[in-house]
């Protein structure tokens, strides 16, 4: 989901997908997309020969970014988001 973060936190192998949060293997009931991501992960597991190997998957999310961005959000801000907002810790 966020491979830049994943590799900085020392994951030994990482598959990058440019998908909205909550959807690491893709779209509900899209078996082909889910298989693509899982297959890449398995082949990276077995085939990577060094720490920090990262493979990004060239799949574009088929829903406009604005709509997908809205769709992954929880019904109300998470407690930590609300906590950050109350302390003016965002937008600095």
């Amino acid at each position: 989901m966020m491979p830049d973060l994943t590799t900085k936190l020392f994951a030994p192998r990482a598959v990058g997908v440019e998908f909205p949060f909550g959807h690491p293997f893709g779209i509900p009931h899209d078996s082909a997309m889910q298989n693509r991501v899982l297959g890449e992960a398995l082949h990276l597991l077995a085939g990577a020969d060094r720490f920090g190997t990262r493979v990004d998957i060239d799949l574009e999310w088929p829903i406009p970014r604005k709509d997908a961005y809205q769709a992954w959000q929880p019904p109300e801000p998470s407690p930590i988001t609300q906590w950050w907002i109350e302390r003016n810790l965002l937008n600095r």
């Binding site: 440019e18 398995l42 720490f51 959000q73």
Partner: protein, 164 residues
Amino acid sequence: MIIDSFRFLPRSFRPIYENPEPDGTDPIWAPFEKRLSESRIALLTSSGMFLEDSQASFDLDRERAEPTWGDPTFRAIPSDGGAINLAHLHISHDDILADPNIALPSDRLSELSETGVIGEVAPRHVSVMGYQGASLEGWREIAAPGIIDLLHEDEVDGLILAPV
């Protein structure tokens, strides 16, 4: 092709995630020495998935009361099914409940076992509630040792981690 890790993140959150501290952990590398077609594979999701009929939810009440705390426990999810629910305050549940395979692709993994791509599916997958707030201490002391014991008990060769 290099993807944009922050494409779906609120812009105001980006500085929080751009330069994370590794929290004192050293890099760890374990080569995978078996063939996939002879390996037993498990999955781990951070979606807060649990079995609706037989497992307790993750503790969301405490997280609401202590926003910098996240439940560090884990749930074992049988790979042969069961009605699931989610306990996670940071994402919409709609799509995962519509098709849990987008967070824990157990059905896809079973298909890869049937076609011989992997040896077999582990009897249990693993679920955690990914948000850990200010510290990973709970995962180090509670979740990680328990998950390692479970994976050893099930003789798992490889684990695919799926953050949500």
